[in-house]
Amino acid sequence: MNRTNPHEDLDLVQMILSSGSTRRKAIEIIYGWSTLKENVQKYVLSNSGSEADALDVFHEGIIALDRNIRTGKFRKESTLEGYLFGICRYVWQNQRRKSQREILTDSLPDEKGDGDPEIRTMKMEERDILSKIVALLDGSCRKILSLWKKSFTMLEIAEALHLSSPEMAKKYKYRCIKKLKAELALNPHLIISLRNVDSRKED
């Protein structure tokens, strides 16, 4: 891999931690790392995958990278590129494990500092339950909380939703969370279902 500029990596991390178009720009830059993409493809193809699988893996890798950066799990011990490649390898290995195919052979050299990419793999069941939770929200609450989760500032949220001020946006966000908690209290089966999924993970 030919990218080793730590300053650019720091910039990209910062951009992902920002909101809106800045974050998207960072994702576009990462998406344009053609050497990485080719290496991911080579890895997947040499381990019984297809080109479509390789692109899926690359996308899943970027999604996991974005999440890990926003949640503070990316510890900057390796380059972003190396870290992302490690994630993609893990994603493909995991998919292969699930479909119980033959033993993998690594055909590409190990990237230094890959370590454990701390990928959280969600079962379809968990995703289904979480989708139902989001569906408890009305349209405007869903929009506010979605923007908040993407690290939009209250000012940006106020502008996006034509609210009078950032303080109003903050108030709305708080009300929406409260509303959702009230809905969850009325639908306790959702939390119980999540609890069951979690306990099966630990088995």
Partner: protein, 241 residues
């Protein structure tokens, strides 16, 4: 946000100091109501995270499709389409001024329709599709559809291509074939294209082709709260009842 709510959020996001974390965990062990509060907050954070993930997934699909379009074609294409859009806007405005009022259901069906324009091809060998897409853009729907039919003979599981074919039938004015194509795709196992196909099938069924298939699809969308078109369904059903 209360101090407790802030602490729960910091706990879930790994922001507590070692000492605070130890204290919080100890509190959590002995307090069932705090456990529930933490579970609910975590569920909310995780569900919103899933939304972020889905949005990013869509963005990545768009980036994948844009990557397959050469830059020169993109810039010529965007200029050409800008001109087409201006002319279309002028023609549309004139037509609106001088024509009789368009039925409400027709406008709704048109506005709510999910066309292929907004989606992109995934990791498909672009050489297969470049000719087909070019013909589609030039309005040569018949040739484009023929090309797609040949392709789909070899790759019947390419749901995106099947969606494109259905869309081109509609663009061609062949409502019957468009409905049939969307109906078949709606019954496939594609997580991405089947919901869109079922929605378009319903739109093409209003107001007077609302058959048993449409009723079943609508019932399914109504039952699935997290279906992408669940919230829009009531509006569509106004044109059926």
């Amino acid at each position: 946000m209360s101090i407790l709510e802030k602490k729960i959020e910091d706990y879930l996001l790994g922001r507590l100091s070692d000492q605070d974390l130890a204290e919080f965990k100890s509190q959590l062990k002995s307090d069932p109501s705090l456990q529930l509060e933490v579970e609910q907050t975590k569920a909310i954070h995780d569900s919103l995270e899933l939304e972020v993930e889905m949005d990013l997934r869509q963005d990545l699909a768009i980036m994948a499709s844009q990557e397959n379009t050469p830059a020169v074609v993109k810039s010529i294409w965007s200029t050409k389409w800008a001109l087409v859009a201006v002319i279309a806007a002028l023609v549309g405005a004139s037509f609106w001024m001088f024509s009789t009022k368009r039925p409400a259901w027709d406008k709704f069906a048109s506005d709510a329709y999910v066309g292929y324009d907004f989606e992109g091809l995934r990791a498909v060998d672009q050489s297969i599709f470049s000719g087909i897409l070019e013909e589609a853009r030039e309005g040569k729907y018949g040739s484009a559809i023929e090309g797609l039919e040949s392709y789909l003979d070899q790759h019947p599981q390419d749901y995106e291509a099947r969606f494109l074919r259905a869309h081109l039938y509609r663009e061609q004015g062949n409502q019957t074939q468009a409905r049939n194509s969307y109906k078949q795709l709606a019954q496939s196992e594609s997580i991405l294209w089947a919901p869109r196909a079922s929605w378009n099938y319903l739109l093409l069924s209003i107001p007077d082709q609302w058959d048993d298939t449409a009723k079943e699809m609508a019932a399914k969308i109504k039952a699935e709260r997290n279906h992408p078109y669940h919230d829009k369904l009531p509006q569509l059903l106004k044109y059926v009842e």
